[in-house]
Symmetry: C2
Subunit: 320 residues, 2 copies
């Protein structure tokens, strides 16, 4: 690792050894899929309280209407309650499916006026991108989901630490092992944005898809066969989105089933093919996706991407 | 069935009793997925020859490169060969995945100058819509795929008859049982377009998505859970596509697995929800999709849609 990269990374690292820092207060709410096992909400709250966070649980967090956490009206109202809760962070209980029913119901501009930091991933990507396109620079984050990451008995401490440090404004850099190193080192700046590939492409052609030029686009997905991942990436290519980014950073693409007809067609084929179509470098190995350890990454924040060999760092700027 | 509907339907019906009509000549080619069992191409050709069609098979119809029917160059070249083949019809052997890799390679305007009628479905929807958006009014059809519909020992005669009559320009109307009848009868005119929902939405935001106002949009899909069907329909809604159509006609949505979390959320929930968001009526029951009997429907043709109770008809205009 070069001196420059090490310095940039260390400048952004919080000091995790402080035990008695002021932890963020957290509002748990359910924007999309119903939480099938409601005790997981209680468990997640317990984990966060054990980390010295004040926790409030939205009145409809455990609601159910078919596969949704309550009716569209109820879930839209939960956003409004989170915005005026006075808490530091509004953390989604889980993803699933449901944001798309709310997109045209949410008053993004009004929600953006709240000081709350919105955190979630997967289906929640739709909210983050809706906010980025409609609400301006309100703070949303791609990060953990309460019942996925914080309700397990064997939870991942790195995920929790990174989340809390990011919420406290201390963490401003994350390093990862770039599993697809380029010959040339990289030092670029751009808007960090992205999330779940399938949810992100499901907003293309609508007003909820943000127009980010010169950005650093990160993507992950779960349960999608490589041919579908390629089809989505080609949609982004043909829409001009990939060509206007400075870098593409891929997280994990998990839980898909290869079929005999693939005959050697795999995720690497897809990445190599897409790379052959664009100039911006594609990096891989970002700890984001449906995996045990997930980073908490700011959406829409001006960010520096440094890479040399297998070492890569994202360093984002302070909010002003 | 009213007098008006019956008259319109009968005016468009070909006379299937003529045995010695001049049948179309057919060029079989592979635009997307590799045909795993090449004997199916021979079987399909045999079926069409038995129906008195002249058949030519593209030199790369049985090619293989990973999951594709040859490299991107080979498959793009197959389109060019089909265009200058002098045959009446270019029929895709199968769908799969592959068109998206070719979209920016194909010279749609040049292909559109050919007199050949392009036929296929599923992944081939991308070609039809690319042609409609880039090539103008060249004749493409949503119809059978040679190795899916014509290679089976127990083939579906209705599918074959309808395909041949459409290619001869005799069939100009199809009737179907509208399984979602409205109280009001319907008599509208618009551009008929559509195809596979997933492939169609995968073009949104790109130059290959046609801008059709006041159209009749038909959609089908296979292997997509209702929540994914809804997400795609909501993308079309938020992109303004659904609101600018005069009617939405749904074909079959097959081979998806409900999950316990659905708790009553099903395809009907999706259709009712989308209907609550738009004024244009949604009809269902069109024989299109991954089912034994498929219609051959013109893409981009001015079409009349008549519906009364459970009787529905699509009557398209002659090409001039």
């Amino acid at each position: 690792m070069s001196q420059k990269i090490r310095a940039a990374a260390e400048a952004g690292q919080g000091d995790a050894s402080e035990a008695l820092v002021q932890q963020p207060s957290i509002y748990l709410f359910s924007p999309a899929g119903a939480v099938q096992d409601r005790t997981r909400i209680t468990k997640a709250a317990k984990t966060l309280r054990a980390a010295h966070c004040e926790v409030a649980v939205d009145s409809a967090a455990g609601a159910r209407m078919m596969r949704f956490a309550g009716s569209d009206e109820e879930r839209a109202a939960a956003f409004a309650r989170a915005a005026v809760s006075g808490m530091d962070v509004a953390l989604a209980t889980r993803g699933g499916y449901g944001m798309h029913r709310l997109m045209h119901r949410l008053d993004f501009k009004r929600l953006a006026k709240s000081k709350v930091q919105w955190v979630g991933m997967s289906d929640f990507t739709a909210f983050s991108l809706g906010m980025l396109s409609q609400g301006g620079c309100a703070p949303t984050w791609s990060g953990p989901l309460a019942t996925d990451q914080f309700a397990a008995d064997e939870r991942d401490d790195v995920t929790l630490e990174a989340f809390l440090e990011a919420m406290r404004g201390e963490l401003e850099a994350v390093g990862f092992l770039n599993t697809r190193p380029a010959a040339k080192s990289l030092d670029i700046k751009g808007t960090l944005w992205g999330g779940n590939l399938c949810v992100l492409t499901s907003l293309l052609g609508t007003r909820f898809f943000p127009e980010i030029k010169g950005g650093i686009l990160f993507l992950e997905d779960v349960g999608e066969h490589p041919y579908r991942i390629e089809r989505m990436l080609l949609q982004l290519l043909h829409a001009g989105v990939l060509a206007s980014q400075k870098a593409i950073v891929l997280g994990h693409f998990t839980q898909f089933k290869p079929v005999p007809n693939d005959r050697g067609f795999k995720l690497k084929t897809v990445i190599d093919f897409v790379q052959s179509q664009i100039k911006a470098p594609i990096l891989t190995g970002l700890p984001a996706g449906h995996v045990p350890t997930v980073l908490t990454l700011p959406i829409g924040r001006r960010t520096r991407l440094l890479a040399e060999g297998r070492d890569a760092f994202l360093v984002w700027e302070h909010r002003h």
